[in-house]
Amino acid sequence: MSTEKKKAHPYKFILWVGLGSIIMLFAGLTSAYIVKKGQANWLDFELPVVFWYSTLVILLSSVTMQMALKKFKEREMGQYRGFITLTVILGLVFVVTQMMGFSALEANSIALTGPRSNSAGSFLLVIAGLHILHVLGGVIALAIIFLRAYSVKTKFYNALPVELASIYWHFVDILWIYLFVFLQFVG
């Protein structure tokens, strides 16, 4: 082991491997989607526009997350807290817009669950729903490090938790972009 080489912190490494397994979760679902779509009885429908808005929102939240990390490293704690708050809010807006998308479909009598549902709609619900849970996980993580910013220990300015949160946050963002493109163009 060379002494010059700087290795990733083990926690960061755990996170990266964990992201790999989240990818496999969605890879499993999207391949199931493709298989199912190739079979009889598939209902084609357009994604409601509101999913475009939620995509914009989550893209924006990545920018604010990045700013938060930058401000943290510059020790601008006030601005850091501002950007974290903004990110959390955008995350929640994302969730709400997605829910609006589901309602719009139901309103168009495209059932997502229940006896009248077609697995095309159910897949959308399961895939987007699981992604929402991952976003909410990120929101909770951000809330925790936000609260921590008020505790004494931060005088050490340890950037690790914020870095971990931002890696995760960008990941769920990119994951959504993949899912959106997939649902929009493959689905």
């Binding site: 990733a8 964990g18 159910s122």
Partner: protein
Amino acid sequence: MSNEAAIIEDVHVKSATIHDAHGHQDHGHHEHHETFLSKYVFSMDHKMIAKQFLITGMVWAVLGGLMSVLFRLQLGYPDASFPWLESLLGKWAKGGQITPEAYYALVTTHGTVLVFFVLTAGLSGTFANFLIPLQIGARDMASPFLNMLSYWFFFIASIVMLSSMFVETGPFSGGWTAYPPLSALGDASPGSKTGMDLWIIAMSLFIVSSLLGGLNYIATILNMRTKGMSMTRLPLTIWALFFTAVLGVLSFPVLLSGMILLIFDRNFGTSFYLSDIFVNGVGALPNEGGSAILYQHLFWFLGHPEVYIILLPAMGMVSEIMSVSSRKPIFGYMAMLGSLFAIAALAFLVWAHHMFVTGLNPFLGSVFVLLTLLIAVPSAIKVFNWLTTLWRGNIRFTPGMLFAIGFVSLFISGGLTGIWLGNAALDIHLHDTYFVIAHFHIVMGVASMFGMFAGVYHWFPKMYGRFMNNTLGYIHFWVTMAGAYLIFWPMHYEGLAGMPRRYFDFSIWESFKQFGELNKFITIVSMIVFAAQILFLINFFYSIFKGRKVTTQNPWEANTLEWTTPIRPGHGNWPGEIPEVHRWAYDYGKDGKDFIQQTTPVGADESTH
């Protein structure tokens, strides 16, 4: 260590170089105020967590083994009545005979519990936790906290699974693979009601446990090795546990996705897996357009890697124990490593060999035949290397070594029948017969169990500072070895004759009546083998308290790092600095020396391997 402490430590390390990784780990020998709870229950010491996994796994092994004895009783004595069964199982054995519902519940729970709780959590959980930090030279796992969570998720999964056995309608009874529609429709059978809900919850918790464990194992192996411990100096145990973790981290999420769809079909009226179904007493279901085969794809995409998740740790431990006990370097270290890699990679490409009779496109089927048969190549390399390691070795027949040799025998026998099954043309006849049962019990069930026994006998001195009793170990080995073949070998013939698996009673079939006596024989042997496992348990628990004490640091005269720790290592493993590694783990019989530990510097005129 508390989270805060870790973070403060991090601050020291943050801007520095990797050398500080040692500083980072050095809190290992701070004095902690240990209470009973923090030492034995909510422990973050990887060695204690390993023991928790081991003992929980043992409890499940006893329960799961007992279940198999019960359903074997039905198969061996379909007409007999055992009043004590009724007192044990109540309404599940009215009149002293197991009911069909109970039979299926027992078979299903036996399969689920042995595959996942014993041979995955009990095996990887125990030895990955115990050996990774000790053999790579680390104070603990990358995240001891996640490690503790991993055990507790497993524990809760166990409780939920256990509770499913006490619900009114019984535990799930549709087979360990949980195929829909049986698993998706509460009305399909009593076991598909609450029992199945609990089964899914338990399995989901179990998946979380495996993932948390796996992430940690991978991160620890790649990031926390001591100075000098390059990847190619790692003992093969660690490599095997590494590939095991990679398989788990990549395949368990896919099973989870399949389970989530199943939950939706069960509870929210969706039709992922359901179509055109008529249930007796309920009528036609509204579900349209689902595909039960889709579940099989998702299940076996995990299911096949899973069998290697079970097997690889055993392979790794067998390689290590075999080298130590033959006093010879493992033959073909790089080939062993390459074949581990090949097996792990191929494991993702063969899942449809479980689905040859599902109407799979025959062309696609032939691709899977080819990929499946390819596994024989790395498997054969491994067998060859084990045999050549034994060849002219100075063999010490410890109980651990006997189980390691037994493993190789079982792996050969079971691997050969795998090649039969891997041919779609043969599998169409053999699928869902006792031939498959024989195949996978020999190659996976018993073989991995042997790997686990080998590991327990070999590392028991490190775990508890005492030895297990050898005589009991020998009896345990010979009875189990002979018994395993006597139980499973005849099943091949039953399967070839077409005897299907998962039938409650064969005595009413003209074609299978001929096996009545054979089934009785198998049942008797299985009871004897079960009794031998009790002997093992007695030996294990007795030896923890009363076994012969270990008096030297390195009782097996092995090279790996765990034998450089004190006889009873504390949390942090090494009281002083973590030793530096100068060579690979297999310098046995080199330059006239019986063994050279990894910590011994390379001499000036010495060649390295």
